[in-house]
């Protein structure tokens, strides 16, 4: 191939691309409307299972024994219902959202920063809570929230909640940290050994820290940032960058680093600390005084599911007192079912995870998808929408 031909090839492809792009530019946009779609929930009754169920879940939410043979709540469900379960786990809400968009899953455990997008994108259907008997026992503090309910229509069953904790290696941190400061400030003793979450939603963690350290910015909701507030958060993230060893997306990798001491402090899950402590008590987890981001997860049903009966059986099963207790203990979060608190193997679990203390959750900011219309009720400014969070994050990570 001579030079000319290579160039010609390149030019040809570019020209063809432009032509196609140009032709399509007049066509109307597909998807992405901002109005909640009108769709009706399953009327029931929940009948015989279809024999199959495809579950998209956070790691630790739908364990089938493959991580740890003793940790398995999928198999009993299969025996009970005859629905064969295929579990796919995801690392970030964006990954979950993308997989749901592509289709092929019946139910998903969506965090607040994915759930609304799934609703407005038209990828999930309303849930008829009357077909889920265990719904009655869900903490009322989790019901009818803005990440699971739109215009009074329920789009899912609450699963549990937790905070993104400060995880630390006990060898590197002689005393338990009480502040996020060593993950943010330039003079940090943990410099070069910090592990933040590798996702645009982590910008909210910066905002949480700013709420405590720079009250002048007037941040009240870390997912509702106007341009000035947003820029301050990005500036803080830039300041953090030299401290960072690795941004994490794979919790097992982060657990590994925390256990070995190559990571001193990181933002992460209780589950991660549990995995890191599989052989020895090396890693601690705490919610610092500034508060934390967190999640309140919701089981949702895909709009085009072919296994509606299995899906409803799953929704009811997964928030049943015993199973919800097991998951909450395994993952390290507060269960959604009030009755679970009596069934945990560690009877103090609900206390430790503050399941019943609404006070504890006042400075836990559940993941939510930022929108242009400020979520904190301000109307005099527009907030930075999620798309710009993503592109700012991309820029930050690439710099």
């Amino acid at each position: 191939m001579r030079f000319k031909h290579v160039t010609a090839l390149g030019v040809g492809i570019a020209a063809a691309s432009l032509a196609v792009a140009g032709c399509s530019s007049s066509s109307t946009s597909g998807g992405g409307s901002s109005a909640a779609p009108s769709a009706s929930a399953y009327a029931g009754p929940v009948g015989e299972g279809e024999g199959e169920l495809n579950v998209l879940a956070w790691p630790g939410y739908a364990e089938d024994g493959s991580t740890d043979p003793k940790v398995d709540w999928v198999t009993p469900f299969e025996k009970e219902t005859g629905c064969q379960v295929n579990v796919k786990s995801f690392a970030t809400s964006n990954e979950a959202y993308d997989l749901m968009r592509k289709g092929g899953y019946d139910v998903v455990s969506a965090s607040g920063d994915a759930s609304l997008r799934l609703v407005y994108g038209g990828y999930v259907q309303p849930v008829n809570t009357s077909l889920v008997p265990n719904y009655a026992d869900i903490f009322s503090g989790l019901k009818d929230k803005q990440w699971n309910t739109v215009d009074g229509v329920n789009y899912g069953i609450p699963h549990g909640r937790g905070a993104n904790l400060l995880l630390f290696n006990k060898g590197e941190n002689k005393t338990e940290p009480t502040s996020w400061k060593d993950m943010w400030e330039s003079n940090s003793p943990a410099k070069g050994k910090v592990s933040p979450y590798d996702d645009a939603i982590y910008i909210a963690d910066a905002a949480v820290y700013l709420m405590a350290t720079q009250p002048d910015l007037g941040i009240t909701n870390p997912y509702s940032l106007d341009q000035t507030q947003f820029d301050a958060a990005i500036k803080l993230l830039d300041q953090q960058k030299p401290l960072v060893a690795e941004y994490w997306a794979d919790y097992a990798k982060q657990a590994n680093g925390l256990a070995s001491g190559s990571i001193s402090q990181g933002q992460g899950w209780q589950l991660t600390a549990n995995v890191a402590n599989a052989d020895g008590d090396k890693v601690g987890a705490t919610k610092p005084s500034e508060g934390a981001t967190g999640w309140s997860d919701t089981w949702m049903v895909a709009k085009d599911t072919k296994n509606i009966n299995c899906a409803y059986k799953w929704l009811d099963y997964i928030v049943s007192p015993k199973v919800n207790a097991e998951i909450a203990e395994y993952f390290g979060e507060a269960p959604a079912n009030e009755k679970s608190c009596d069934l945990t193997s560690n009877e103090d679990h609900c206390a430790q995870f503050h399941a019943k203390e609404e006070d504890y959750w006042t400075n836990v900011y559940y993941w939510t998808t930022p929108t242009e219309q400020c979520l904190d009720g301000r109307t005099d400014v527009t907030c930075v929408p999620y798309k710009d969070w993503v592109s700012a994050w991309t820029t930050l990570r690439s710099a």
Binding site: A21, S24, R101, G257, G261, K387, V390, T395, S398, A399
Partner: protein, 289 residues
């Protein structure tokens, strides 16, 4: 006339009289493959790069815009720097691979006992038999700055970062350099080396003036592999690069939320690759592939 002759109306006779039909038959399948699975996706990639997404749901909106490319090429944005860094990694991996592969291939092709050669070549290629992920995870463990294999045996580890990325990518792609260079060296007649020596050239001179120019096409062929494979990699960077990011990571990080932007970044790698092929085609080396 023999009984085995094809009858006048047989397919064989038809094809014999119609060379174009033969050519069509030969190329129908590969051309379909190339067009459908190769050219069409590239065109779609470029097309996507001119679209945008809904700011809330992230869904594709098919309206023409140049903003993705404008952002990629904006000097105040980091992506051109990322591209340069990616290029630097690909070039480094290629250069290190050449530096390692040339003496190794020389030994394999010209010095090692011929009966040992198949075994030695098999050894060089062995890493290709293991899964990519297994190898990179193994390196991640080895490179761990706290108690990793290198740190505990050598008392020193590069840790996770750009050096680790180049080391691991070189490890991964070295066989793709060694194999063509080895074959290239084998194809150099021994008499040429004898002749050079006979004419007064010492080993280094023979290597530089005779062997190296003759295996240059093989080295370039190998470099196409090491360069392109490194250029598109993102998993190795994720696992041993620390917070380092290459173009592949930007694509990986954005394709779920902002496909058009990911496509624009991916177009950049395609452009770099076209540029690379154009550069080496100027050397005339592609004609010898």
């Amino acid at each position: 006339m023999t009984t085995t002759e094809a009858p006048a109306g047989s397919p064989a006779a038809f094809l014999y009289r119609h060379p174009r039909a033969r050519l069509t038959g030969l190329l129908a399948l590969p051309m379909t493959w190339l067009v459908l699975l190769y050219l069409v996706p590239i065109v779609l990639l470029f097309v996507t790069a001119f679209w945008t997404t809904d700011s809330f749901t992230g869904n594709l909106q098919r309206t023409f815009t140049l903003e993705n490319f404008a952002r990629v090429l904006d000097p105040s944005q980091p992506f051109l720097t990322t591209a340069l860094r990616t290029l630097a990694v690909a070039v480094s991996v290629t250069v290190v691979s050449i530096i390692l592969a040339v003496p190794l291939s020389l030994f394999l092709a010209k010095i090692a006992q011929p009966r040992w050669r198949p075994l030695l070549v098999a050894l060089v290629v062995t890493p290709l038999w293991a899964s990519y992920l297994v190898k990179v995870y193994a390196w991640r463990t080895m490179l761990n700055p706290e108690g990793g294999f290198l740190e505990s045996t050598l008392g020193f580890s590069t840790g996770y970062g750009w050096v680790a990325v180049v080391v691991v990518l070189t490890y991964l792609w070295l066989p793709y350099m060694v194999l063509p260079v080895y074959v290239g060296m084998q194809n150099v007649p021994p008499s040429l080396l004898d002749a050079s020596s006979d004419l007064g050239a010492r080993s280094w001179r023979t290597f530089r003036s005779v062997l190296l120019p003759l295996v240059k096409p093989a080295i370039i062929a190998g470099s196409v592999f090491t360069f392109s494979l490194s250029l598109g990699d993102y998993i190795t960077v994720q696992l041993v690069g620390g917070k380092a990011q290459m173009l592949g990571n930007v694509v990986y990080g954005t394709f779920a939320t902002d496909l058009p932007f990911a496509a624009a970044i991916a177009s950049l790698t395609v452009l770099i690759m076209i540029g690379y092929l154009a550069a080496i085609s100027r050397t005339g080396a592609l004609e010898n592939l």
